[in-house]
């Protein structure tokens, strides 16, 4: 469009040129063309033209309003540069059609361009956002970028005259493709799932509610330092350490039993036989730990998933319980993207009412924009550990803070447990699920690793506040799932509980531990009993992943009428919109509030 100045002397010269040299042109000038008209702030606008092929001197630009017969000439040829016409605030009326033409004339004749109809309201293209600032921050899960910017100065959003929405895009400096993120009307954004040691470029642009996107801002380059280590390698080290620890724990336990036996069987000769007898694989913890070890390895090998591990939980969680709780450790070996887990868990029809109805409003209040671990009101560590199968408090905090919608989802899911499944069913073998998902929530993936179902996280976490109303003993390491009572509360009791197993769960009477495999959308707690069964069901679930939301997978298999938990998906609908563009990155949770 030209920013060059000095058309006036040119025009003057041109006019003079015509006057003084009557024989300038041999023909009428070529037909000029109005290129475009744009308004940066919906208060002024500018039109640009280009001359026709044959040149000639363009003398005037005409425009006329619909409602009047009068033809007006361009009020300002200079302000916007060469071949332009600038309409100032006084000359600009909105919701009026300007009919604009350019006339090129020389002494041989005139040539008029095609008229262009312009309503200023529909040609708004703002200036670029300003003061783009990018900073590298870090939280439990690794480095992330925080991008802040200001609206373009010319746009008046304070009076509500213009409403701007923003978009930013990020890429590694060496990459070809950009990741685009919609920031809505907010003026900051957090970008997750970044690699340490890389240089990134960030750009921002804006758009009025109906209008054109502005240009991208000049890119901001930011380097993420290597000191913020690659989580994967860091966790690899910790994983090995964990596995060594676990096996050490196992051996300690084993040796403890051995000691017991040696004490109770004072005959020395028999002790050796007892020792050998103990080596029989029927020893309960063995399989569990092997599973754990296997899972660790699985997780570690998969670099793509990049789960973010919570370091301190690794140490804490490993010692918690034999049966299910130490499963927390798995999945810590990799980094994670946050979004997809919530996708799986969520449903369309969550409502605010249910949130409060189940007394989980406390969770909503604990939402925080930041990624710090919010306190979980009403929960004590002892109680949290009562539900050891998937989480301990720090992990649940991670889950909480991810997304307010997600919180709502988790709140809805558990309280509606209305069925008890006596069947031993499992869903979606862990390894299969691992392949399929791209997890986006670092805190959740921990759970997903062990149980490979997002629903588990949702439900388990939501169970935490419920635990208040359950009669549970304090700080038991091992918990046995008893039943789901009439109030849709999952009762778990410590192993020392003398009540004994519920007859409904007589299947488990012979076992000390039951490993929670999954909690489906039918609010059924699926306990793993038989690996072969799990394998089959896992295959079934695997097939379904592409089509059916795993939260509903078990629905057909349930013979009882279970209340369908449809609430988990509500936040996803909004989430998915946001995540559409951010495939590998996190969704900024605060965006949902705008």
């Amino acid at each position: 469009m030209g920013i060059s100045s000095g058309p006036k002397p040119f025009l003057t010269v041109g006019v003079l040129f015509i006057l003084l040299s009557p024989a300038t042109g041999f023909s009428a000038p070529g037909r000029p063309r109005v290129i475009s008209c744009r308004s940066p702030e919906k208060e002024t606008f500018t039109c640009w033209w280009e001359p026709g092929d044959d040149g000639g001197v363009i003398a005037f630009i005409f425009f006329l309003f619909f409602s009047s017969e009068t033809i007006y000439e361009c009020p300002d040829y200079k302000t916007a540069g060469e071949n332009s016409c600038f309409f100032s605030k006084n000359d600009t009326s909105l919701w009026v059609n300007y009919n604009i033409s350019v006339v090129a004339s020389n002494d041989m004749g005139k040539s008029v361009s095609e008229p262009v109809e312009v309503d200023v309201v529909y040609i708004v293209q703002p200036n670029t956002p300003e003061s783009v600032m990018v900073s590298v921050l870090e939280d439990n899960h690794g480095p992330y970028l925080r991008v802040d910017w200001e609206k373009p100065q010319s746009a008046d959003t304070r009076s509500g005259w213009i409403t701007l929405v923003y978009q930013l895009r990020v890429k590694q400096a060496k990459d070809e493709t950009w990741e685009e993120y919609d920031a809505g009307m907010q003026k900051y954004y957090k970008v997750f799932s970044l690699h340490s040691g890389k240089e990134y470029m960030v750009q921002v642009r804006c758009k009025p509610d109906h209008g054109f996107w502005s240009e991208w801002t000049t890119p901001v380059y930011i380097q993420i330092s290597e000191v913020l280590t690659n989580n994967c390698s860091r966790w690899a080290i910790i994983m090995y350490y964990k596995s060594i620890q676990t096996s050490r724990f196992f051996w300690q336990h084993f040796l403890g039993y051995l000691l017991l036996i040696l004490v109770s069987y004072p005959q020395n000769g028999k002790s050796e036989e007892m020792f050998n007898a103990l080596v029989i694989p029927g020893f309960p913890p063995t399989s569990t730990y092997e599973d754990l070890l296997v899972e660790y390895l699985e997780v570690y090998d998969d670099e793509k998933r990049e789960l973010v591990l919570n370091e301190k939980n690794l140490i804490e969680g490993s010692m918690k319980s034999k049966s299910t709780s130490s499963d927390n450790d798995s999945g810590r070996g990799s980094c994670d993207s946050r979004t997809l887990l919530m996708e799986k868990c969520v449903d369309e029809s969550g409502t605010e009412q249910e949130l409060s109805q189940y007394g989980e409003a406390s969770w909503a209040s604990s939402d925080s924009e930041g990624r710090d671990n919010p306190a979980s009101p009403g929960l004590e560590d002892g109680k949290v550990q009562m539900w050891p199968s998937v989480f301990s408090s720090p992990q649940s905090h991670n889950f909480q803070q991810q997304h307010p919608g997600g919180l709502r989802a988790s709140h809805h899911s558990v309280p509606e447990i209305s069925c008890v499944s006596p069947h031993v069913q499992t869903c979606c073998g862990q390894q299969d699920q691992l392949e399929g998902f791209q997890f986006s929530k670092p805190g959740l993936y921990r759970y997903a690793q062990m149980y490979s179902m997002d629903t588990i996280e949702c439900k388990h976490v939501a169970q935490e506040p419920q635990s208040q109303s359950q009669s549970q003993s304090q700080s038991a390491e091992y918990v046995e799932v008893q039943t789901v009572n009439q109030e849709n509360v999952l009762l778990v009791t410590p192993l020392s509980n003398p009540e004994g197993p519920n007859p409904e769960l007589s299947d488990f009477s012979g076992e000390d531990y039951s490993k929670v495999r999954d909690v489906t959308s039918d609010n059924v707690l699926l306990l793993q009993r038989d690996l072969s069964v799990s394998q089959f069901v896992g295959d079934y679930c695997q097939d379904q992943i592409g089509q059916v939301d795993p939260c509903f997978l078990q629905q057909q298999q349930q013979e009882q009428t279970c209340k369908l938990n449809a609430h988990l998906h509500h936040p996803a609908s909004t989430l998915q919109e946001d995540m559409r563009l951010a495939e590998n990155g996190y969704v900024d949770t605060t965006m949902m509030m705008s």
């Binding site: 309201v121 959003t157 009076s159 005259w161 007394g359 409003a361 009101p377 208040q468």
Partner: protein, 223 residues
């Protein structure tokens, strides 16, 4: 026990905060006790979203019809809208100069003027076999929205009056009935592209004026 009381107290806090956030005095039809009024901010958000949706529909329909009816030059020159006689601010300065009452009146006038024409428009669309069903549905939705938005803006106006933000709105009921009498039947009867062009413009005006009104009265909410 302790946890229960904690939960209860927390719930109470939440409920209280929710109610406190709203208007200073709850206004409920029929004086139902304990029913909560929507805050003015929420009301504004709703009507603005509504008007945005309405404008979107009008844009869609306008571009759909423009494909089929290419106006010739004669038509362009004589194009006018039946709402042309309603005086509306056509720029930011003029709009921001208007008082809240005047701005609200302009919005209501526009909404009143479009109720009937859009209903007729939809009616005639359904009678023509060649118009596709999706356009017809959009036209119906658009027509309904004008009425709903009118109600919404009236509620906003009532709330503003209650809160003392604006003075009496030109006799209230009489004012609105007076608008109904605008005779616009002959202008829009057949010329649908023109009608849609006019409505697209007017719906954008309505949306813009609502936003100005909102940011003037509640400057802290996203302005």
């Amino acid at each position: 026990m302790l946890e229960m009381s904690k939960t209860v107290s927390w719930l109470t806090l939440l409920c209280v905060s929710v109610t406190v956030r709203g208007a200073p005095a709850p206004i409920c039809p029929h004086g139902h006790p304990g029913c909560q009024a929507i805050s003015l901010a929420d009301l504004f958000d709703r009507v603005i979203q509504h008007s945005s949706r309405m404008h979107g529909l009008s844009s869609d329909l306008h571009s759909e019809f423009e494909q089929y009816f290419i106006p010739n030059k004669i038509q362009i020159g004589t194009r006018r809208c039946h709402t042309s006689n309603i005086v509306t601010p056509n720029g930011k300065e003029n709009a921001t100069k208007l008082a809240e009452e005047e701005l609200t009146e302009v919005i209501l006038k526009l909404l009143m003027a479009w109720g009937e024409p859009l209903a007729q428009f939809h009616e005639s669309m359904t009678q023509h076999a060649d118009y596709n069903i999706y356009s017809s549905n959009k036209a119906l939705e658009m027509s309904d929205m004008v009425y709903e938005l009118r109600n919404g803006v009236q509620k906003v106006a009532e709330k503003m009056q209650l809160l003392g933000i604006i003075s009496n709105l030109l006799n209230g009921q009489d004012f609105l009935e007076g608008l109904d009498a605008v005779d616009s039947s002959e202008i829009f009867s057949v010329d649908y592209p023109n009608l849609l062009h006019c409505f697209r413009r007017d719906s954008d005006k309505i949306q813009s004026y609502l936003k100005i009104l909102k940011c003037r009265i509640l400057p802290e909410n996203g302005c």
